[in-house]
């Protein structure tokens, strides 16, 4: 297996799927000539031409809606939001058009589209540029959401998302783009939606998480293991469909769970998973499911405050200790 970056993994997935299916095209701000604000689409304009790699005006609502219209008649658009923060301008087209397309038309018109880009905070980008929007998207039926944490998952999930016949919101991480990891070389490296992965085995407590926070959770698990606590880190990978089975299996084993998310906790992913666990595994729980999340404030610019606001391994350890009543 080759060791490549998360960025290269996404780039390969895009290239391979565009090779594979002429109906797939990439559209967004700076995706072409500039090779992408974060260089994810590097080289694609040259390779596929400007019919299939399209630089747009800064009109998130407009080009998201354009993508949905193109998907209605059978194309398979990949719409890049430079970051998901800007997708707030496009939510009407995602929720009122894409998510409801198949249902309102009772199956006559589908919407095989991918909306992708980085979610959550990078470093000191302040309040408007540091929002994790998973919870906002996953709330609306008709949408599928996935959040790869590693290069292998980035490639495999993006290929699955592009091949999926429903609107998929594909959320990356600016701080993950440079991360390196092993990725299977095969063109058929597809990670199906709805399949969580146990990134670390352990029997004492389940740390459930997704996206960037997988790495924070793994660090926490290492620290815990120094204290003889073996945490199981479950990377959900997809938030809808959600691999409830794997979640419940881990909880049945450890009887304790902590959810770690980059975003806010009110109506967050942790609340969704925590409430589901309570409904379906109440008797397995020896302690309440606790949640670690961003501080419940807009993201501040100052480096120290930002550090405080973000979930840290220390905070995850603390939460694990409290569900272990230590």
């Amino acid at each position: 297996m080759a060791v490549i970056t998360y960025r290269e993994a996404l780039n390969q997935a895009l290239a391979e799927e565009m090779e594979r299916d002429p109906d797939v095209f990439l559209m967004g701000e700076e995706v072409g000539l500039y090779n992408g604000a974060y260089k994810v689409s590097k080289g694609l304009l040259e390779r596929f031409g400007d019919d299939r790699v399209v630089d747009t005006p800064i009109t998130e609502l407009g080009f998201a809606g354009l993508g949905v219209g193109a998907a209605m008649v059978g194309l398979r658009p990949i719409i890049e939001f430079m970051t998901f923060n800007f997708s707030m301008l496009a939510l009407d087209q995602v929720f009122n058009s894409a998510a409801k397309m198949l249902y309102m038309t009772d199956g006559q018109f589908g919407c095989p589209i991918v909306f992708r880009g980085p979610t959550g905070a990078a470093l000191q980008l302040s309040a408007q540029h540091s929002q994790a929007m998973e919870a906002t998207y996953v709330h609306y039926p008709g949408i599928k959401v996935c959040t790869p944490a590693t290069p292998a998952d980035a490639k495999g999930l993006l290929k699955a998302a592009i091949r999926d016949d429903d609107p998929v919101v594909f959320m990356e991480g600016e701080l993950l783009y440079a991360m390196k990891g092993e990725v299977p070389d095969s063109e058929d490296h597809v990670v199906p939606l709805g399949l969580a992965e146990v990134k670390r085995e352990g029997g004492d407590v389940s740390i459930l998480t997704h996206g960037k926070m997988v790495h924070v959770s793994l660090q926490a698990a290492e620290q815990l293991s120094k204290d003889g606590i073996e945490a199981e880190v479950v990377d959900l990978r997809s938030l809808r469909p959600l691999d409830v089975e794997t979640i419940l299996a881990s909880v049945a084993k450890t009887n304790r769970a902590v959810y770690v998310e980059e975003g806010w906790s009110v109506c967050g992913i942790g609340a969704y998973v925590s409430a589901t666990i309570m409904e379906e595994a109440f008797d397995h729980l020896d302690a309440p499911v606790l949640r670690v999340s961003q501080a419940d404030v807009p993201m501040p610019y100052n480096k120290q405050l930002e550090k405080l606001a973000k979930p840290s391994p220390a905070r995850v350890v603390e939460a694990c200790n409290s569900v272990l009543y230590r």
Partner: protein, 348 residues
């Protein structure tokens, strides 16, 4: 900016009798169909919002009738007549208004959300202005596939103020997407007159901002309407050039079945006066004058249409509701083998 002239008035030229009768048929069908829908609504057989096109028929029919099968139509919630003009059967449309399984959207869409893949009729949208980017995407797909079809996009004048209009028209003009943007300027958005919400009255002039051709069409005369749109369609087919067409028309009914026909925002007198220009009357007069229509022709045609509409209503009446399990059908096209997609207590 290329600004095309209005269509000539003596516009019967170039039409054969059959074609003209087909237009009259559609005009009358639209009217009778909606009269029947209004009754059904009053009786509670149709629910939700129901927006009638009465008075505006010439716009949709004039624009859609010249289309080819491989062309597309996208419109707003005031969509009954567009669907019929596109060839969707009165039965399928009426059944949809009744919310039946046999409706053109399986009973899931209702009056505002009519669709027919078979007729390239892409609905049927309820968010003011939301369909404009969608139609632009259809235009993008046509160009992407190097086809020569076109997409008609209808929206009310009030949608012109939406950002979606601005964003979409820029992209359509920039990339030469074969879309004809048709503003159904019936002068009111609900209870608000256009001049009360727009700093520039002349909508067609807004095309200058996108260096896009524009035209003003007489939306009360189906033949002139059609002639104006035909020019725009030809331009779009030729090299993808989009056009902004302002169709001037008038809404004879209230905004929706639950709104008053007149009131604070327009007088009874104004409505009555506008009704004198009833587009159906206009067409009948044109045909009679040209001796292409007799009293008898008209009566037979009208009888036929009445029967067709009654049949549609009966069909809707007799059709079943969707099965309960339809509730979860077509939320997703693909039920992934892994993971759970639905979370609610019904699934518990």
């Amino acid at each position: 900016m290329a600004r095309t002239k209005e269509a000539p008035s003596s516009a019967l030229a170039g039409y054969d009798r059959e074609e003209l009768h087909r237009l009259l048929y559609l005009m009358l069908l639209g009217r009778r169909f909606e009269d029947s829908a209004a009754e059904a609504y009053a009786l509670g057989k149709i629910g939700g919002f129901c927006h009638l096109y009465i008075g505006q028929e010439a716009v949709g029919i004039g624009a859609i009738s010249p289309l080819r099968e491989d062309d597309y139509v996208v419109t707003a919630y005031r969509d009954h007549v567009q669907a019929l003009a596109r060839g969707v059967s009165p039965r399928a449309v009426m059944a949809e208004l009744y919310g039946r399984a046999t409706g053109c959207s399986g009973g899931k869409g209702g009056s505002m959300h009519l669709y027919s893949a078979e007729h390239n009729f892409l609905g049927g949208w309820g968010i003011v202005g939301g369909q404009i980017p969608l139609a632009t995407g259809v235009g993008f797909a046509i160009k992407y596939r190097k086809q020569d079809s076109v997409c008609l996009c209808f929206f009310g004048e009030a949608a012109v103020n939406q950002g979606a209009f601005h964003e979409a028209l820029n992209m359509a003009a920039l990339w030469k997407l074969p879309v004809v943007f048709i503003v159904e300027n019936n002068r009111f958005g609900m209870g608000t007159a256009w001049e009360r919400v727009a700093s520039l009255y002349d909508i067609s002039q807004k095309a200058t901002a996108y260096d896009m051709p524009a035209a003003i069409a007489d939306g009360m005369d189906v033949l002139r309407m059609r002639a104006t749109i035909q020019e725009a369609i030809d331009r779009a087919r030729k090299d993808g050039t989009p056009t902004l067409v302002e169709a001037r028309c008038y809404r004879f009914m209230g905004h929706s079945m639950s709104d008053p026909v007149h009131g604070v925002y327009r007088t009874k007198e104004e409505v009555e006066e506008e009704k004198q220009k009833d587009p159906i009357r206009v067409l009948i007069d044109q045909l009679t004058e040209a001796e292409l229509l007799t009293e008898d022709d008209l009566n037979t045609l009208d009888e036929r249409i009445k029967e067709e509409v009654e049949d549609a209503a009966q069909f809707a009446e007799d059709s079943p509701d969707p099965e309960p399990d339809a509730l979860y059908n077509n939320v997703y096209a693909e039920l992934n083998p892994h993971g759970r997609l639905f979370f609610d207590d019904l699934g518990r």
